[in-house]
Point group: C2
Chain length 226, copies 2
């Protein structure tokens, strides 16, 4: 038994979720299997099933842990800065656990904790003067950015450390996809301008978030004035 299993403490939902999150942080989400997790807890796989219905429930429980870390809404601010702050808090919560955003994407049914968060976001808009139908549309528009993440579909290859090799990779890419290379090299807010290195995810996230929030504000003004 090389995982120092603590067989004295009894198993519990809490202890299982703690270990699941720790295991995912340490070895990636793929290593969170019922069997492996049980092994880490010094227990036979079936022992888990007395505390957690099945694997889906385990994953939902892990999501719950992440969502619980998000800052509660701050009262007394305008909708825009309050929301901005809260979403950036959700983001930092997600960033602490690199597996979290892909797990989020894979879930289909929302749990109560997830609904609580969405309810409070809806409340922020409604209280901020957005009519319900507009709130509906802009919440769809916000999408996963409500949880502080975006799908990273743009290629950011692990840039080779050797500058010569890197140069070569870039020129090979440029032969096939010249516009991608131009655009990828133009992330000049870090002052580097190198493919796969000059892109600051936090900057990009806030850029997109602010574009959306400004867009929402404009729609709200248009509604209120008509």
């Amino acid at each position: 038994m090389n995982h120092q299993a603590d067989t004295r403490r009894p198993l519990s939902r809490e202890r299982i979720l703690d270990k699941a999150v720790a295991l995912a942080d340490e070895a990636g989400i793929d290593s969170v299997s019922m069997r492996n997790l049980a092994g880490r807890l010094g227990v036979v796989p079936m022992a888990l099933y007395k505390h957690i219905a099945n694997k889906e429930a385990l994953l939902d429980g892990m999501i719950e842990r992440i969502v619980s870390e998000i800052e509660p809404p701050t009262r007394g601010t305008d909708w825009k800065s309050g929301l901005r702050r809260r979403i950036l808090s959700a983001r930092s919560s997600l960033l602490r656990h690199p597996w979290a955003s892909s797990l989020f994407e894979s879930r289909t049914a929302p749990t109560p904790v997830v609904l609580d968060y969405m309810d409070s976001i809806a409340d922020t808009f409604l209280t901020g003067g957005f009519p319900p139908d507009l709130t509906h549309q802009i919440m769809h528009t916000l999408g996963s950015r409500m949880w502080g993440f975006t799908q990273e579909l743009f290629p950011s290859p692990p840039a080779p450390s050797d500058p010569g090799v890197r140069e070569q990779v870039i020129s090979q890419m440029a032969a096939h996809w010249p516009h991608i290379v131009v655009v990828a090299s133009a992330a000049d807010h870090t002052g580097e301008g190198i493919v796969g290195a000059g892109c600051d995810d936090q900057y990009e996230f806030e850029f997109a978030l602010d574009l959306l929030l400004d867009g929402f504000e404009r729609l709200r003004e248009r509604r209120l004035s008509s």
Copy 2:
């Protein structure tokens, strides 16, 4: 052999991908396993490995099929309407295969076909007068909407067909999450206004897309005039 395997035709990458797409359409992406797929082709699992490196390569090949269905760029239009048209074409391509967007989300490394598409999107912006750094930022902002989909994180439970039961579910939800119910019921562009039924995904997608495109245009004007 109840899957009418055609043992006369030789196996090929094309034939494997055809069957994989058909299998996913018919039985869901989870049923696309190397073993099950091989069975449908009347062949032993290992036979696939002579034509496709591994499961990852199979999934990448399936993505390729989807991306190939997207309309090529139309020359002679302004960047905005050309892009809008192309993205909506990507969307209809994705909608033909319900498993496609979640498969997209799961991929990490872009294939050449994927890079081709992104290169042509970048080209559209650059040719349309966007400087490279702004193009970089707005392509991040566009995110998965470039491919015609958004994560559906808003709860849309399968609405019970019985109106009485439905009424009851809604009032139970309203007890815990009143704002969600208000907002979900407000999708009045279909004239229904019922949770889980009144929401038109295509309308929501176009709403969000247009908000983004308008935002991009405004940023471009600001740059050009400064």
